[in-house]
């Protein structure tokens, strides 16, 4: 993963010439200022069609076991990328059938010709669809976030980095009573587990009462920036999400996942949990990529 490849991928991530309309790019749905998500309930494609799901935040995706809300079988950034590029029902970028034309147009741009040559040195004609995918994937692997107040507290030993409310919220988050860490687990506060076969990552999917099918447990890093929430964008605020989990605890049903809360939260507990979720925002991550626009 050379610097030249990452730099090229970074440019391509914002490149509207990839889209059928000439005005849409990856960043149209993955805005760096929102931790690479968008503010829409569900994403909208280049031609105005609504997608079935909310655009996911792109945070530490290099370490994902699978990609997408409900797709255990998508295992690599490269495979995932074919969806926004080529999907027709609905159209996202709308590149299907235009791959060669897009590559041709980029090759005719002297800046791109130079950058592709630098990124893929041994190739005589490096401006190809495959290399566009490789370069963007290289850029995506640099979307690393791990410098939130939470990290400074737990891994950096800065005991003042969290407020007393956030510290209480953290204790509750990791407790069996709230159960959050039972699903939002590991370094990325996400489902990121290989199953018994070591493969599909199906072990990372769960039902939290907001869906009819198991959904991949999303990362909570930078979650304060990624409203609205859930695969269908049903909740506008984090407060509404916590209200949802509290309501689950208030009326436990036998079919609920046993990790979900077994009793409702008090107003103070909700405020503490909210403080904790806010402490997962990594300002340096947002600043580092916000300048890319």
């Amino acid at each position: 993963m050379s610097d030249a490849k990452v730099a090229l991928g970074r440019r391509l991530f914002f490149e509207p010439r990839l889209s059928v309309t000439g005005n849409y790019s990856c960043a149209s749905c993955h805005d760096p200022a929102r931790a690479f998500s968008d503010a829409r309930r569900v994403a909208i494609g280049a031609t105005g069609q609504a997608l079935p799901h909310n655009a996911m935040a792109l945070v530490n995706v290099a370490y994902n076991v699978s990609f997408g809300w409900a797709r255990p079988q998508v295992h690599s950034l490269e495979t995932q990328m074919l969806e926004p590029m080529l999907n027709e029902h609905p159209v996202e970028l709308g590149m299907k059938g235009r791959e060669a034309a897009v590559s041709g147009r980029l090759a005719a741009d002297p800046d791109y010709a130079r950058d592709f040559a630098a990124a893929f040195p041994p190739e005589a004609a490096p401006v190809t669809f495959g290399n566009v995918v490789k370069a963007i994937s290289a850029f995506e692997r640099t979307l690393i976030s791990g410098n939130s107040p939470f990290d400074r507290y737990v891994f950096g030993g800065e005991h003042q980095a969290l407020s007393p409310e956030a510290k209480r919220g953290m204790a509750l988050f990791f407790s069996g009573r709230a159960g959050c860490a039972g699903c939002h687990s590991g370094f990325n506060f996400a489902g990121n587990w290989r199953d018994a076969q070591g493969q599909t990552g199906r072990a990372s999917f769960a039902n939290n009462g907001a869906s009819s099918i198991p959904i991949r447990v999303p990362t909570l890093r930078n979650v304060a920036l990624t409203a609205p929430y859930m695969h269908d964008g049903r909740f506008a605020t984090l407060d509404a999400v916590l209200e949802h989990y509290s309501a689950i605890g208030a009326r436990v049903r036998p079919d609920y996942d046993p990790r979900l809360p077994r009793s409702p939260f008090t107003a103070d507990e909700r405020a503490d949990l909210l403080s904790f979720l806010n402490s997962l925002t990594d300002e340096s991550f947002v600043k580092r990529f916000a300048q890319l626009r």
């Binding site: 370490y63 690393i144 791990g146 410098n147 990290d151 891994f155 030993g157 407790s175 860490a181 590991g186």
Partner: protein
Amino acid sequence: MRIAFLISSATLMLTLGSPAFANGGGAMHPAPPPGQLPPREATPAQRATALYNDALHLTKKADRAQETATAATDAGKKDKAAHEANDEYTAAHAKFEQATQIDPAMPEAWNYLGYTSRKLGRYLDALAAYDKALSLKPSYADALEYRGEAYLAVNHVPDAKQAYLDLYASNRALAEKLLNAMKAWVTAQRAAPGGASAGVEDFDHWIQERVQISAQTASLTRAGTAASWR
């Protein structure tokens, strides 16, 4: 960038896998099959490995003698075991030193040179050896833990804290071991004539806070979590 370290150490631990040296003990390097390779025809790396394995054997014997010495109530027995441990650490130390001279690129040998130096009370030598091991293999958790204990032995509290934080991200079991050593250090400081200074009480406060964080976030880096995160 802290997370870069986190991830690289997690993946390194996964990919390096072997040699998995148990902290305090350690695994044998595969020795050349007996009889097939006479020592004088062996390569430097093979000779260093053979020395390392001998020395590791002695170190384990010394560790056992030291345990006996600690546990013994009879003064004569205690003394005998302590002498035995000292002799064996001395012999092991010499062999680890030879191994590092023959093959200076073997982080395990530097790590155990540090360990045996520490056991012989040569803390500054120990620190230098751990530094060398870690310059060769920055994610070497055993060396990080040992170096943390050596820092404590020379009262370098800030460096010991940093060692704990680095370990916390990559190896929770060893982080816990160092935290226990820290608790013992505080107890010893308090027992010392004149009692503990204010700095010691601050450190104890820090330790208590880490105990709490560690209990709360058990699921965050539970054994295997960091490694299986990739």
